[in-house]
Symmetry: D2
Subunit: 386 residues, 4 copies
Amino acid sequence: MTELAAAKAALKTQAVETPSWAYANSGTRFKVFAQQGVPRTPQEKLDDAAKVHEFTGVAPSVALHIPWDRTDDYTALAEHAGDRGVRLGTINSNTFQDDAYRLGSVCHPDAAVRRKAVDHLLECVDIMDATGSADLKLWFADGTNYPGQDDIRARQDRLAEALAEVYGRLGEGQRMLLEYKLFEPSFYTTDVPDWGTAYAHCLKLGPRAQVVVDTGHHAPGTNIEFIVATLLREERLGGFDFNSRFYADDDLMVGSADPFQLFRIMHEVVRGGGFTSGTAFMLDQCHNIEAKIPAIIRSVMNVQEATAKALLVDADALAAAQRDGDVLGANAVLMDAYNTDVRPLLREVREEMGLDPDPIEAYRRSGWAERIVAERVGGEQAGWGA
Amino acid sequence: MTELAAAKAALKTQAVETPSWAYANSGTRFKVFAQQGVPRTPQEKLDDAAKVHEFTGVAPSVALHIPWDRTDDYTALAEHAGDRGVRLGTINSNTFQDDAYRLGSVCHPDAAVRRKAVDHLLECVDIMDATGSADLKLWFADGTNYPGQDDIRARQDRLAEALAEVYGRLGEGQRMLLEYKLFEPSFYTTDVPDWGTAYAHCLKLGPRAQVVVDTGHHAPGTNIEFIVATLLREERLGGFDFNSRFYADDDLMVGSADPFQLFRIMHEVVRGGGFTSGTAFMLDQCHNIEAKIPAIIRSVMNVQEATAKALLVDADALAAAQRDGDVLGANAVLMDAYNTDVRPLLREVREEMGLDPDPIEAYRRSGWAERIVAERVGGEQAGWGA
Amino acid sequence: MTELAAAKAALKTQAVETPSWAYANSGTRFKVFAQQGVPRTPQEKLDDAAKVHEFTGVAPSVALHIPWDRTDDYTALAEHAGDRGVRLGTINSNTFQDDAYRLGSVCHPDAAVRRKAVDHLLECVDIMDATGSADLKLWFADGTNYPGQDDIRARQDRLAEALAEVYGRLGEGQRMLLEYKLFEPSFYTTDVPDWGTAYAHCLKLGPRAQVVVDTGHHAPGTNIEFIVATLLREERLGGFDFNSRFYADDDLMVGSADPFQLFRIMHEVVRGGGFTSGTAFMLDQCHNIEAKIPAIIRSVMNVQEATAKALLVDADALAAAQRDGDVLGANAVLMDAYNTDVRPLLREVREEMGLDPDPIEAYRRSGWAERIVAERVGGEQAGWGA
Amino acid sequence: MTELAAAKAALKTQAVETPSWAYANSGTRFKVFAQQGVPRTPQEKLDDAAKVHEFTGVAPSVALHIPWDRTDDYTALAEHAGDRGVRLGTINSNTFQDDAYRLGSVCHPDAAVRRKAVDHLLECVDIMDATGSADLKLWFADGTNYPGQDDIRARQDRLAEALAEVYGRLGEGQRMLLEYKLFEPSFYTTDVPDWGTAYAHCLKLGPRAQVVVDTGHHAPGTNIEFIVATLLREERLGGFDFNSRFYADDDLMVGSADPFQLFRIMHEVVRGGGFTSGTAFMLDQCHNIEAKIPAIIRSVMNVQEATAKALLVDADALAAAQRDGDVLGANAVLMDAYNTDVRPLLREVREEMGLDPDPIEAYRRSGWAERIVAERVGGEQAGWGA
């Protein structure tokens, strides 16, 4: 198989999970701008996600967020998804929106609050059993706002205890994906602020505890691809939450702020075997001002383009230049791939997959946008609060 | 008058304006944790603000935010304040919470939206006329999230046009205070992102257009006291929005994240004549997890402590060491003042003002906290949305 | 003329000035790694710069740095350049390497040191008269390392006085380009830390005082293209010092760290008329570990590629989408240009200019690299200290 | 023993190691300003360090840097130290100043360079055997400047191999302290960029491999005290390199940029048992523009003041407020200690130790500054290059 053929094959089997909440309303602390046609139920979110998969061919699963996607019958929800050509993916927990969690959840000084939070996490594993989801994604908003507010170290002890209980509950083939984040909503300390902390906890739990890299969760200047390479080397890269940022956790469309960084990340993924090691590729974005479904389609395409470029890197030439200490030559090999316009290649890939080569245009022609505006009238639009 | 006496005199006449919205509920995009006893009306916010002034003696005015504090009768509102020993202060506009403002307000590509926004600003000047407020504070959430989304330069033209119309409407003795902010809620461009942009617009408008420095609105590593010194030198420092931050616009209690920075800022204020030049000292904070009134009292006290230390700097010794190029000596003069425990001095000042030397304890003993929890039952608590 | 033809015409007339010091040794405070074949004299630097122009066709001038390029006979130096097909460009001053400048130069507390510094700047204007250079570029390392070390405001007064004297000395057709930098080598305050400070000084001096944007001199998260758009709108963008950075003032090859940012900057340049308004496009880089001449050729090519993409933006489609508030559509128009592989276009442009389409390869074949290694034996290699 | 007595006892036994190179000339890439009286030999550096200990009483050991402090007879050097009341401390390796290290040392693509680097590290352990030093401090400048320049992951493999060999060579009672640094002198990747990477390597090596926290080596916004608390909890905090920074690795006097941060760090040290667990407290600073010996005395005093404040935190009151979720109360307990002026306490401590209560003034009166200027004439001043 030629390299190009190999690249095309890889691109056809790529899977990018989209998050149910990205189809719902979102915003900043200043304002949530509601959009017409936004889903009102988990089912309608799945309907939208199915459209993204229909036109891209590489978004076959949908992450759920509990309680935002809570339902009485997860089996029925899974069937709803299956009927539309997608499946339920990662289960995301939420321990930050109950009034009890003002000072934290699993790290809260009060054992009763911690119990409540752990029970929620265990419920999420129950849901995984029902939906057949393999991954439990844990992001904790826990932290403090003021120096002295709580004991940094004691909070780590509480965190470790909670994680151990949940890890012990995981079934065969289930993983715990632990996400880190520098800050927000906590502003002085965050209890899992960096990959090192997440990694240290995962090490103690066991091999099915893995780290999630959200591309918007780092301090300015952090080299994310270095972390990706390191976690792959340590066999602890559980997955990505893709998005992009200029400043903080902006949650913009992946690849929109720094497409070269996304390419460098995908280069490390290719280099480190991330496509074949179970690393999950997920989006975690907020489309505060732009139309949501086309924004998600565009995001999936951005991941595809970065991936295609990474697959086109001439690995032999690169290794040779690196071995020779040829700084400019090695950089040029990488840049050659990055500077390539891979959109024609991806159009070919889509056509070979039986898809329209232009997913955005195909979506636009489909009339779905108009239809949901017309049909989704009344009820309460989904958002982060519901 | 001795230096100490002068410092005490200055501390007694200091005025820190508190913002009505800091008494209301606030939070992050993830969650607003409601607190018991929070005001439901502008009047109740004033009641709380009056308590802060009662116990600190240096918080005599309250900033309003329109429409959050909209009322039918501003004269009555001013009387309500006056009856409680405080007065209405700066009027803050809001051009970010109407659905029309999804893509901006005064910088919006659509002239009709810009008209709506300018009309709101003009209404704010009407309110100033009614309340006797001297300052109109303008913060624009305007900006874009994606490269190419709008024309950066055209937005500046629109901004300039709107500001000119509003400036022209100001009455005698009224000022326009223009605030800048690096990012949030916009994530790619912000239309007034830095002091340079605010300053350039103010220059074109006239002497009553002045820049506001919000201490949480800068890029990491920005030397805020340099900006303060520069704006004072240019006679364009209209005022401060005090708060503190570890990462972004965290809006924590002023002085809680970097008290040394606050001292350095106050040192430049003292050095540059900011106490006698009309610079307004305002708080702009969010007490997301802590009790609001004591947090504001504490914030006012933090400003007092930084001010006291700045007033204690031995200006002659500092100037001499600076003139001699004595790096360590000059630094030591500044640090001597900073390392002084000024709390005893401030207790004295308060006693001389007829106040309890410990405002926090006095507030606690007053029973106000329990009373508002008991009395403010029912109705809708105030927040950023109302 | 078609748009493509217009783009090609613009690319053919583009001029990127290369700095003499980029051909010399450079490094960090930890180590300067000397390279074989590095110039020992200003003449040899010009020889190398001429090679860059020979193979790229768009690097016709060379910036000098005084005293690093001091010579007895600037007329002869200009002839040396002319004989090799290039000309002398911007004169860069140096007020940071004399022992007298430990605490600053034009902002130093001691008037004698300030006099010395101003005299150097005046000497630079004399040199401009001799070389026919139009631009005097001023970067001041002035600042302080410790709070209190010197008076921030007094230093601004001294700076203003020095600039006024030098501005008054400028001849017809000469400009003063004032550069700002966040930090380094000063670590607490820098006397011209941001564009606002440089702009405020330029305003007071006159229209021939203009701001220089060094792309590595900003705080993390600064939107540089916003500054570019603003300075063009204010008719104060004197020029660029191009380079790239991941962290601080890394001085890497322009376009190597964030090629998308470089494209966005060039988009604002095109949008704001920067190609026809006298804005100078200069490199200011350090090739600490890579071969210098090919690194500079590559850098010039990176500027060309970003420029080509900016010229290919469909301005009408962009304006229409912006006017319609079509966030995704407007972003897509910009990204279409960015995602285009412009290397074939630039190869065409070069061939039409009578150049080899691949400057790097042509340079390699020329044997110049081997020749300078063989010939430049003995003597003292040029660096920042000499 | 009362709490105050306990605090005083702890302060009397505190030990802050000073680095030999801080007594020598240093600077930035722009300029090293030489100072009069600077040591020319390792012996003279020790003479200066002995003065710091003489006047502070808490700086009993001196870190060496090889090859800057290379000598023929380390036993004699140790005796020289002992005669002056100090002892030799940590041995610091240097694998960044040989021309061979242009592309790295232990991570270099060429095995011969790696061998050379490892041999140097092994030589450092030999020196430790001779000097009786317990700690080998490893900081690697290794990294890359351009994407693609080298293989991130392969470099980690090489690093691991080198560390394992050196760790295996350590004698009984010797430790390896691994330092991390975000960037500089490398600008794209650094091979040990963060605590997580250092920690992961230490884990694989064994219990005597520990992490060093240099307070200037983090990304903006990093919460250093969180890392300190975490490493203490993991029993992997080998020591500190104290200094302070506003922007990057500024290497200013510890406590001069953010004294509150230093206090928070010392609070976690006290909380986590760092004073009794073998954590080394070292300075690593550059006194580029200020007099070196008094700057180091001042730095030691800054560490003492932060320590004293941390020791005065009312641990019981703090724990109670934290347990109650009293955000403001807990913060107030911490701030009470921070706001205390501990200088009188430290003067007492010094008097009880038989020292002058004012070390800076005592040093000034000693005439040492004048004496070294007079006596250290001729020869070559020590710096980073020698």
